[in-house]
């Protein structure tokens, strides 16, 4: 069997890194970074997720096919959110014809 048995020490190290990441993301939420707050929070979350995927889920020792599937799922999500937001964020960018606009540039009021 090509079972890679990771060491306990490595698992503990990853656990500590995840806890540090959690502490950092919580603390930094209280610091005004302007527009960078959200990207920083997401970057920390993505890093934590990568640690879990590569080490706890053993993807770093997995077959190339498995890695392709993992990447594919992530890429799909990036497309879902990215392309949808391209639509929403660009609304109202183009001048509308006078005869009524098909798509409102304003968000729906609830």
């Amino acid at each position: 069997m090509s079972d890679h048995v990771e060491s306990k020490g490595l698992y503990f190290a990853i656990f500590l890194a995840l806890m540090v990441g959690t502490a950092i993301t919580t603390a930094i939420a209280f610091v005004d970074l302007g527009v960078l707050n959200t990207p920083v929070a997401l970057a920390i979350a993505v890093s934590k997720a990568m640690l879990v995927v590569l080490f706890f889920m053993h993807v770093r020792h997995s077959s190339t096919l498995t890695k392709v599937v993992v990447f594919g799922g992530t890429f799909w999500l990036a497309l879902l959110i990215g392309v949808t937001m391209i639509d929403y964020i660009s609304r109202g960018w183009l001048p509308q014809k006078e005869q009524g606009t098909q798509f409102s540039s304003q968000p729906p009021r609830l």
Binding site: K8, N37, T84
Partner: protein, 231 residues
């Protein structure tokens, strides 16, 4: 299990039947790879499942940033942070359980499975407490929703996403607890060895995935614009 030997296709020779190598696989490695791949395909469907709600969150937070920030401040960071630590800890114990299974260490495997289940249950207990807080504060969307402040409609939207996403996540945790309980039983029966521990491995993948979902839920729900003042 009785050992039946078949002459299968040319090149296979005889196989005993074991859990690690069923007769329709060419090798134990291929069987393990197929199982792992199958689990990952399932997890990709889970990405699609949760992804829809994450997308809704992104859209509505983009539209209503003020209301989402105000609503986020009504969530308890201490409980949320504690739960994040608990869940990450449960991923550690789960990884240790898989490792124990790989080493054929039955007792360690059972202990780590139990620890993982305990931590998972703690997480669910804390979530119950948090949801109860929301109930008492009338922040559960529906006829009893009440919010003193601007943009109450959009705040209710945040809480709809909050309950939808943490609820779906908690549902996955409950399923995970069921899986782990089942594993615990079969581990106790001696089913998992260094040669065959695939179910433990796959349950680990599931559990870690649910942890990853929470790794994103925590900052997105609890930490929106916390630097801009209090309640």
């Amino acid at each position: 299990m009785a050992d039946t030997t078949h002459t299968i296709d040319a090149g296979h020779g005889h196989h005993g039947h074991s859990l690690a190598l069923r007769h329709h696989f060419a090798s134990a490695e291929q069987q393990k790879e197929a199982s792992t791949l199958g689990m990952w395909i399932f997890l990709v469907t889970e990405v699609m499942f949760f992804g829809g709600m994450f997308l809704a969150y992104v859209i509505y937070r983009t539209w209503y940033p003020g209301a989402f920030a105000a609503a986020s401040r009504h969530l308890d960071i201490t409980l949320g942070g504690f739960n994040t630590a608990v869940l990450i800890g449960s991923s550690l114990t789960m990884a240790m359980a898989v490792r124990a299974a790989q080493l054929g260490a039955r007792r360690s495997l059972m202990i780590f499975l139990i620890l993982t289940m305990v931590l998972g249950s703690v997480f669910l207990g804390v979530k119950g407490v948090e949801w109860h807080h929301k109930y008492v504060e009338h922040h559960i969307p529906g006829p009893n929703f009440h919010y003193d402040g601007p943009n109450a409609g959009n705040v209710q939207l945040f809480f709809s996403l909050y309950f939808g996403m943490t609820g779906l996540h908690a549902f996955h945790m409950v399923i995970g607890l069921g899986l782990l309980g089942t594993l615990l039983y079969f581990a106790w029966r001696g089913r998992y060895t260094a040669e065959y521990n695939t179910p433990v491995d796959l349950a680990g993948l599931y559990w870690h995935f649910v942890d990853i979902i929470w790794i994103f839920l925590f900052p997105l729900l609890y930490l929106i614009d916390r630097h801009t003042g209090g309640h």
